[in-house]
Symmetry: C2
Subunit: 317 residues, 2 copies
């Protein structure tokens, strides 16, 4: 760890190359772990049809923001890692599985009833509703399975902490709780603080959880952990603000999903609440908060985290 | 641990009193842990509407067979416990949450479309489909949250092992996998071995998992663990055979759910495959296998496990 003033500005960091190398590792791990060969327990194989739906929903799609946050936080705390350790790679894949399952269930007819996701038919359109329901359920379980390998590749205490963090980020005081508030809010006018609370749970909890899980794999100092939590909270919120902005400014082809959907569904968004210009300014404020938190982390090299924050806020889709 | 010949016959064991004391502990724990007060993370409270649906699906209903198996296995291995330790109580509640979530999702219109469960309207009838979907999702996450308390009440390595066992029992090579086979099998003729494989996953994995998780809380010998796995496999299968029998022999009021449903839905069952009499004989065979396994466990007192096996096979609903 080095003093604050030595932190390097994100602009000098080649995010593309960093991302490419990590994505390569993550994609290969997901491909390997979500397969009928890998998914056996006590001689019972997972049914191929279920594994197909799980693979469809996870592989070959998505920006993998959450895994990248896990790995960036891990590397920042570790201070020397060029590759993810086993725990961090498993954590990276586990948060992506939770994200993927939430999309599968969220797209279902009883929720958002969306037919297009990442430019492909959604899982229930492709495989039927019952299979989508089960695939989502199985993906959530698989996330915890990935975090708990047998053998000694990952310390038991770390496994337990990762499971605890993931469960809380995904559950009723995290992602699922945020979805429930979202559901109840359709057609209602929310205050800015209510909207923020909803998004802190719905999107923020898992994004922040990703950062904290990655850090946990490298045994962070209390100072670093606190700063990374602040960083995670800021980008978690920023992500949703930008999502709301893109929902009205981008087209479906760019987004890979149906644009204008939230407004059509009379869902409260930052844009509907504070207008487009104030929403954009708020996103930039949150980016500044995230960068500030990194400066207070006491960590020597937070360039990947800084660049990811920038990417979250200034993305076009 | 004592030699085999000292094992006491189940008939001398007062199961009712044993069950009552354990249920009291489990019910109070569930009541305490599934509440808006308990379900907070980093200052974020779970939304009341979601917690209501979760409580509705878990509290005040069900035989709690899985928690009882956890506690009976724990006590058998521990050899002296009169009360569940913190880990065993959490494990007991976690398997019930997984069971409850599976019922909520299984009852949904895109799956079994059932409107009655434990004599009450199913969750989607009471709260709407979207809320049922989310409540199920949140219950699964909460199961892992219960297994990973902060502080030192439960050893980290035990937390990790319990999470791993639960994830595998619930996931695609366990319960969710069995559901997927079930789904694909409607209207198809299954062989006896295919039907067995389906039920070993769908119902057996979590029942067996309950036994193994309970044992794990008390650090079993390899001999005891292997025997308890065999016991769990036998009662897991027996449970489903009896379920199929009751589906054709009991009425809806006794079952607390719609009777004759599987036959109406053209689902393969043991009764449709082997007839009623052979199904009943098979259930008794499996009971004998379970009791035999206990005799080979090397454990001194397996009376509660033996009595629970008897209850599973000879139940009327």
């Amino acid at each position: 760890m080095m003093a604050e003033e030595t932190a390097v500005a994100p602009s000098t960091f080649a995010l593309d190359g960093w991302v490419r190398a990590r994505l390569d590792q993550v994609e290969r791990a997901l491909e390997r772990w979500i397969s009928a060969d890998a998914l056996q327990d006590s001689g019972h194989a997972a049914p191929v049809a279920l594994v197909d739906a799980m693979r469809y929903s996870v592989l070959d799609g998505g920006k993998r923001l959450r895994p990248l946050l896990v790995l960036a936080a891990y590397e920042a705390v570790d201070g020397g890692a060029q590759r993810a350790c086993e725990a961090a790679l498993r954590a990276a894949c586990s948060v992506e599985l939770i994200h993927a399952y939430s999309l599968v269930h969220d797209d279902m007819p009883c929720m958002d009833n969306d037919v297009l996701r990442r430019g492909k038919p959604t899982v229930h359109v492709q495989f039927g509703e019952a299979s989508a329901l089960l695939a989502g359920d199985a993906l959530q379980a698989l996330a915890f399975e990935l975090l708990t390998p047998s053998g000694d590749a990952v310390d038991g205490a770390v496994q337990a902490r990762l499971c605890g963090l993931l469960a809380r980020a995904a559950g009723c005081s995290g992602m699922a709780g945020g979805q429930a508030i979202d559901l109840a809010s359709v057609g209602h006018q929310l205050s800015e603080s209510e909207l923020r609370e909803m998004h802190q749970l719905k999107t923020g909890a898992l994004l922040q959880g990703s950062v904290v899980m990655g850090a946990t794999c490298a045994h962070p100092s209390p100072q670093a952990l606190a700063a990374l939590k602040d960083y995670g909270a800021a980008i978690g919120l920023a992500f949703q603000v930008v999502d709301d902005i893109l929902d009205v400014t981008a087209d479906s082809a760019t987004l890979g999903k149906t644009a204008g959907k939230d407004a059509d569904n009379d869902k409260p968004t930052y844009v509907s609440l504070m207008g487009l210009d104030r929403s954009k300014a708020y996103a930039q404020d949150l980016l500044a908060q995230a960068q500030q938190a990194l400066l207070h982390s006491g960590l020597a090299d937070t360039r990947a985290l800084a660049a990811l924050a920038d990417m979250v806020v200034n993305r076009a889709h």
